[in-house]
Amino acid sequence: MPDPNRVVGGTLVLLGILSLWEGRRLYALRTEMVAGAVVGDDTFPLIVGVAMLLLGASILFVARLPQVKVARPYGEPRMRMILGAGVLAAYWVILPYLGYTGSTALASTGLFRAMGGYRWPLALLFGGVTTGLLYLLFRVWLLQPLPTGLLGL
């Protein structure tokens, strides 16, 4: 696994370059649109870009940041994390199609099964109860408009 400090440093450098590039575009736009303005929407992207570039470069090449030893998750916890993240991502994808009720019932059952390790009947029961309670909380009590999906549920 790559050094996390280098990952952050590299990301900062890339974002710094992006920020400078965007600042330059906005600077050209400002000088074209607003005659005589000394500062504008480009000022901060340029400042932030320079700072990120310097910080990123310093993390990559100069600063000796303390190395944090973090054990990679393994075994069951790792599987629960991967499955949990997968269910959450799937929930995001299916929500507009299945609507709140159907997708939350599926996602909550999946999460209880994946993260809690409960057997299917119990996971289904917990999923159903949680879906109902969240429905009562968000739609009935807080009057939130939740997605209804293709079936209007």
Partner: protein, 503 residues
């Protein structure tokens, strides 16, 4: 109207059934989440934040403040009974609280902690009542350069929120700035960093960011850790007279240290609790008792913790400067409701401010009533398996992120921020500077641009006006003070826990 009549009208509003219910609900929910091992006040507010967004501003902020206080109170339960501090501010409480619990005096430790917290919290709010309006009275003298100076002062907080490394803190802060730039530019409304993609035009939503960074990442970090439940029975939480007599001077000293240091922007409870604990140990005739179950060792840091938390409301409400991560989330809450904390808040929204201040008194009383008799129930709640708790928190976070703007894009943002938060937290990159810069970045930009437009681009404007110069010099001095305090706290945390600092 003077302070007392303002406060009286605040109480009249805070004691309406709706606001009272919100204070009660916030305190209950905050204590519930705070008492769960490993979840601190920041995560508690992040998880419950979306639930408040459908409420009007006053009850919503009352509920958020209740959650904040409740989570602070709840955090001491796991520190004392399980030796698990939810945040660094609870570490000193573990040192004597846990040995007391092992000696069968866990109930007394919890009782003293609740009484000390109530006392310190209430005194802190009294000071807030009289001190914050004085600070806010300077409002009329503030123009864009002064506000810019104030923002610079606010950014000294980054030093104390950076954990062990300033480079890491500033790197995270600039990442936060960068994220805050996405959307429409403040001067010409020209899209920035949107790449012609519609959803990015309205920028990154604060709640989606908070939910992802703190709530979603928290659940996945929790999956890695072995969770434990409190199994011991708590019988008596009411301390004896001898306990009270021993603890009272410590409560007073802890309150003093916590409050006065808490007034400094950037002095988080994580710093003051160690100072209070060390001062108590040095003043004690029997320092050898510390670490073995001395009641003063619980009373002093718990009082300092709550005094600092209350004192933190003064720079937050009067200057718009959050001293800690949970207060940064609360600042975000105020902004979401269209309220700009700072000198003008007291003048533009006096009803709001005084209702919130009055509700802090009410919240402290509610928490004392809840904590002493209901401690058994809180302890029982720690037995809920993480396999149930984790999915419920994730679903709440998911729907909460959606419900703010009814946007699936925001949910996507919260999922991405969850992954980012998980990676950064595991490798001890501090998230609080990122959040602070994300919240304050747009204000800093606004005041910088306004000031430079006034001066024709000359930076000298910040040094030619008395208040802005004083604020910038104050910021430099505070930065140095913060660095010294962080170094001290970092060393103490390492001594006690063999871990790096994460304030």
């Amino acid at each position: 109207m003077d302070v007392l009549s303002h406060l009286a009208s605040g109480f009249a509003a805070a004691l309406t059934p709706t606001n009272l219910l919100m204070a009660l609900l916030g305190s209950l929910l905050g204590t519930l989440v705070g008492v769960l091992p490993g979840l601190g006040p920041t995560a508690a507010i992040a998880i419950l934040f979306p639930l408040t967004t459908v409420l009007p501003p006053v009850p919503a902020i009352i509920m958020l403040a209740g959650i904040y206080y409740g989570a602070m109170y709840g955090g001491s339960t796991t520190a004392i009974l399980l030796n698990i501090p939810g945040e660094v501010a609870s570490v000193p409480t573990c040192l004597d609280g846990y040995p007391m619990a092992q000696q069968g005096r866990g109930g007394v430790a919890l009782g003293i902690s609740a009484i000390g917290s109530f006392f310190a919290g209430t005194l802190g709010v009294v000071a807030l009542t009289f001190f914050a309006p004085f600070l806010a009275d300077q409002a009329l003298r503030f123009g864009p350069p002064e506000y810019f100076g104030l923002m610079v002062l606010a950014f000294t907080v980054i030093a104390s929120l950076s954990g062990g490394s300033l480079v890491k803190g500033f790197a995270m802060a600039f990442l936060g700035y960068f994220i805050s730039l996405v959307g429409l530019g403040p001067s010409t409304a020209e899209p920035r960093f949107t790449f012609n993609w519609g959803p990015l035009m309205s920028g990154v939503d604060l709640i989606a960011l908070i939910v992802g960074l703190y709530a979603i990442s928290e659940v996945f970090i929790g999956l890695e850790e072995a969770r434990v439940a409190i199994t011991q029975k708590i019988r008596n939480v009411f301390p004896r007279l001898a306990d009270l007599r021993a603890a009272f001077p410590a409560i007073l000293r802890g309150t003093g240290i916590g409050f006065f240091l808490g007034l400094l922007p950037g002095c988080a409870p994580g710093v003051t609790v160690f100072m209070a604990y060390d001062a108590e140990k040095k003043l004690s005739k029997h320092p050898e008792r510390f670490g073995k179950g001395a009641i003063e060792g619980v009373a002093s840091p718990e009082s300092a913790n709550n005094a600092t938390s209350s004192a933190g409301f003064i720079p937050l409400l009067a200057l718009g400067i959050p001293a800690s991560a949970p207060l940064a989330v609360l600042l975000g809450g105020l902004l979401v409701y269209g309220l700009q904390p700072g000198p003008l808040l007291f003048q533009k929204n006096p009803d709001f401010v005084w209702t919130v201040i009055a509700s802090l008194y009410v919240g402290n009383v509610i928490l004392l009533i809840l904590n002493l008799p209901l401690i058994g129930m809180w302890v029982w709640l720690t037995r809920i398996p993480y396999g149930i708790l984790g999915p419920v928190i994730l679903l709440l976070a998911f729907i909460g992120a959606y419900s703010v703007r009814n946007s699936l894009f925001d949910v996507g943002v919260s999922l991405v921020c969850g992954a980012m938060g998980f990676f950064l937290r595991r490798h001890q990159w501090p998230l609080a500077p990122l959040l602070l810069a994300f919240i304050l970045g747009p204000l800093l930009e606004k005041y910088l641009i306004q000031s430079l437009s006034m001066s024709g681009g000359s930076l000298l404007i910040f040094f030619q006006r008395g208040i802005s110069l004083a604020l910038i010099v104050g910021a430099a001095l505070l930065l140095l003070t913060s660095l010294a305090l962080v170094r001290y706290t970092s060393r103490r945390v390492k001594e006690e826990t063999a871990e790096e600092l994460a304030l």
